[in-house]
Symmetry: C2
Subunit: 123 residues, 2 copies
């Protein structure tokens, strides 16, 4: 491997952290769920399948802190809180969408590869 590759990594590594926030297990679900407009806490809880209330809260805070989500509290009773993607998040979402679609497209190949790999090693 060349210096060129090292340079690329030096460039890529710091944003792995950002990527983890955008492409992390829960973050993807949240971002996708919020992509079409503001969503409420409970809606997210139902939409992002398998997420616990705790994890939802933590991830929402993280995303808000990173400036990817805006949190709006309506002082009604019962309280109403809405989360919406920022412009930056929308831009990232476009790229994420591309990756998502490509991954989707290759799902079959990946599944097949796993079966082949496993049967090969099981022998």
């Amino acid at each position: 491997m060349s210096d060129e590759v090292s340079a690329q990594l030096a460039e890529a590594c710091p944003i792995v952290e950002v990527l983890d926030h955008v492409a992390g297990k829960w973050s993807i679900g949240i971002i996708v769920a919020a992509a079409n407009g503001p969503v409420r806490f409970t809606e997210l809880e139902r939409a992002v399948e398998g997420i616990s209330r705790r994890m939802l809260t933590l991830n929402l805070r993280k995303l808000e802190r990173d400036g990817l989500l805006v949190r709006t509290v309506y002082p009604t009773v019962p309280p109403r809180v809405e989360y919406e993607l920022t412009d930056m998040a929308r831009e990232l979402y476009e790229s994420l969408r591309g990756l998502l679609d490509r991954a989707q497209k290759h799902r079959g190949s990946i599944a097949a590869s796993r079966i082949a790999y496993d049967s090969g090693n099981a022998a």
Copy 2:
């Protein structure tokens, strides 16, 4: 949130797993390092900063199992093993690259957002 969003999530969730393999902390480094041609184990170990030998091995196996990496062993002494991206991995890498670049572009904004968020909450 609409049924439409739920549908999108149903579509997105299964590939979150794939995404984790492509966009995971270590996988990114490995894929980027292998993007320019075959790399050897030790080269990867040096290139992917902070990775342990154990984690490198585990991630290489995972990527190989998913059909993203081909492992070639040269029966020389000392042994020589090279890892190379598959066509599928290259295709995914293109999309990943787009996301990476966008994330890179927004690094400043994200850092600033965090500072603002933290100072607001520290008060």
